[in-house]
Symmetry: C2
């Protein structure tokens, strides 16, 4: 085993961890693998994935890893209203999310708002903006068809 590498051609996680000044630990590698293989998972789901990959790990270790990795910009965290935290590997493209009101599923959408006004830091009466987060709410294809009579 030991994928421990995001993708052939990319730097293995261990390198990215060291580059961020973080120690390379089993839980962190496992968290990265799980999040990389399935974006938008909750802490709970990530915990399950990590445990099935490397055995017993404390809940705290997962949260610690998620928080640390997020702080270092390796993961990106978001939290649609009514949902718990969700994570994805940070790729720096500032894409946005479609969230299904019915089943809570999340889908990525490229930042398609014209010429990305959302990436442009603005200033509003002294308020310094560093990020614009867009969440599209609606129904996913499955839930649409499930709710349609015919």
């Amino acid at each position: 085993m030991e994928p421990a590498s995001p993708d052939p051609g990319e730097q293995p996680w261990s390198i990215r961890l060291r580059a961020a000044g973080l120690r390379v630990t089993q839980p962190r590698l496992a968290v990265l693998d799980v999040v990389d293989s399935a974006p938008h998972l909750s802490a709970d789901q990530i915990t399950a994935g990590v445990r099935s990959a490397i055995g017993a790990v404390s809940t705290q270790a997962i949260y610690d890893a998620l928080n640390t990795l997020t702080e270092q910009g390796i993961l990106r965290r978001f939290e649609p209203a009514g949902s718990s935290m969700r994570f994805e590997v940070s790729v720096g493209d500032n894409h946005h999310h479609l969230v299904c009101r019915s089943c809570g599923s999340v889908r990525d959408v490229p930042c398609a708002l014209g010429s990305m006004p959302c990436a442009i830091p603005q200033e509003t009466e002294g308020f310094v903006v560093d990020e614009a987060e867009v969440t599209y709410w609606g129904l996913c294809a499955d839930c649409v068809s499930a709710s349609t009579p015919e």
Copy 2:
């Protein structure tokens, strides 16, 4: 007392409640007054405001009022990541929010993304979008100056 009316010239809350098929109760009127007088409050803060206005009210009554009023479109609820629910009187302008990463304060911003792409329902691979929510993250003026050395 008994403001019970959003604004001179606007319909009193009782009318709006009845129009929505809801009974007119003290807790609901008080919730509306509090939210109207200070947008972006949390359920907790609203509870405090309501209690100081009409005396003892159960926490549950507040949550019930908030949920019901939100369902009926009289209030608008939003929930910046890391924060609890926040409420404002729904005015139908689909404005957005600036959220301070440091102190959590919220400020309204008009939907200024060009010609409001955010209000235009899109469809993406069967995903039917009915709302676009934009959250700007950054630092409010106070926190900016507090964090600046000089």
